[in-house]
């Protein structure tokens, strides 16, 4: 399953790095604590969070995550988007809660 697949299935809006949507997803992570994500997320994971500051991109980039989904209608800061462009990281958004997004991803097979 690729980032493009989940974006289409869940109706997520793609804000950055559309050229990276073919990336395969290896699993998922839901957290708003960056240190927790640093310790537990794996390369290729998709990370669901409501944090919108640029360090989110830093962590995702460092861990080589497939994409970040910003939940609950939160909008990434401009600096966050600029950094995501620079780091070729797909940032997607959804109006749904992190709980719902994670549930739907799990349902369609992201483990």
């Amino acid at each position: 399953m690729t980032v493009k697949d989940i974006a289409e299935t869940l109706g997520l809006e793609v804000l950055t790095a559309p050229e990276q949507l073919a990336r395969d997803i290896t699993g998922g992570c839901v957290s708003d604590l960056l240190s927790q994500v640093m310790g537990t997320a794996a390369e290729g994971n998709v990370w669901i969070t409501i944090q919108v500051h640029p360090n989110v991109v830093g962590v995702a980039s460092l861990l080589e995550l497939a994409a970040v989904i910003i939940a609950q209608g939160q909008l990434p800061e401009n600096d966050t988007l600029a950094k995501a462009h620079e780091q070729h990281l797909p940032v997607l958004t959804s109006k749904e809660t992190a709980f719902t997004i994670a549930g739907r991803l799990y349902e369609i097979g992201v483990r």
Partner: protein, 234 residues
């Protein structure tokens, strides 16, 4: 009573999100240009550049060395001291409570540059200064006071890392010396600081303290008495 026009919240090139121009001689020069008589140096979870700023300042401006500590709740605390040695004592504790992270080959978090008083780079800090410590709000506040410092909650209304943004309230038992307003307009009973990550932000928000002296003790009394006013430079 003497007054101090202060910007207590300034970052250096050590903080990932700060510009490389944030080096001691330029910070001091810009602060003086803005008419400040006191500055606080507070990088994320580190005081590694504070001695350099104090040296660069010589006696031209009062420097309160410190750091901006991120608690386990992800709240930012502005921790300021009278001397770099005291600030480095807090830094030691903070470093023990930061997660380990391997030095990245590429660092997407910014340069984290350690500099000398003339701004020349001496090295890089590879600890994850951008992550939260596992110190609770209460533990952090106690640690600052034990080391002779003063501690305020940074930019409290900010959604990311602001005490009110994160917790929604000020815990009544939190022995904070004060609150820093931001972002947005000035707020009564809250000091104003720029949170400068770029030179042109220094002094853009400031606090005028009425205090007998510039020591931490004087400033804590001043804060407790509400003997300050704030301003914004448009």
């Amino acid at each position: 009573m003497p007054t101090w026009r202060a910007d207590l919240h300034i970052h250096t090139a050590l903080s990932g999100c700060a510009a490389v121009e944030m080096i001691p001689p330029l910070i001091v020069a810009r602060a003086r240009e803005q008419g400040l008589t006191m500055i606080g140096i507070a990088d994320h979870n580190s005081a590694a550049n504070t001695a350099a700023v104090v040296e660069a300042a010589a006696d031209s401006i009062c420097v309160k060395p410190g750091l901006e500590l991120e608690t386990r709740e992800t709240v930012h605390l502005l921790c300021l001291f009278d001397t770099p040695a005291e600030a480095l004592s807090l830094q030691s504790l903070v470093y023990q409570h930061l997660p380990h992270a391997p030095p990245p080959e590429h660092n997407p978090f910014g340069p984290h540059v350690i500099v000398g008083r003339d701004g020349v780079a001496l090295g890089r800090e590879y600890r994850p200064l951008f992550l939260a410590t596992d110190l609770s709000l209460e533990e952090a506040i106690t640690a600052v006071h034990e080391r002779g410092g003063m501690v305020l909650a940074s930019h409290v209304e900010r959604r990311a890392h602001g005490l009110l943004g994160v917790l929604g309230f000020v815990p009544p038992e939190a022995a904070l010396d004060g609150l820093e307003a931001g972002p947005g307009g000035l707020v009564a009973d809250r000091i104003a600081g720029s949170d400068a990550h770029h030179l042109d932000e220094i002094g853009s928000r400031y606090t005028v303290f009425e205090a007998d002296g510039a020591g931490v003790g004087d400033l804590r009394r001043c804060l407790a008495a509400g003997a300050f006013r704030t301003g914004v430079v448009v």
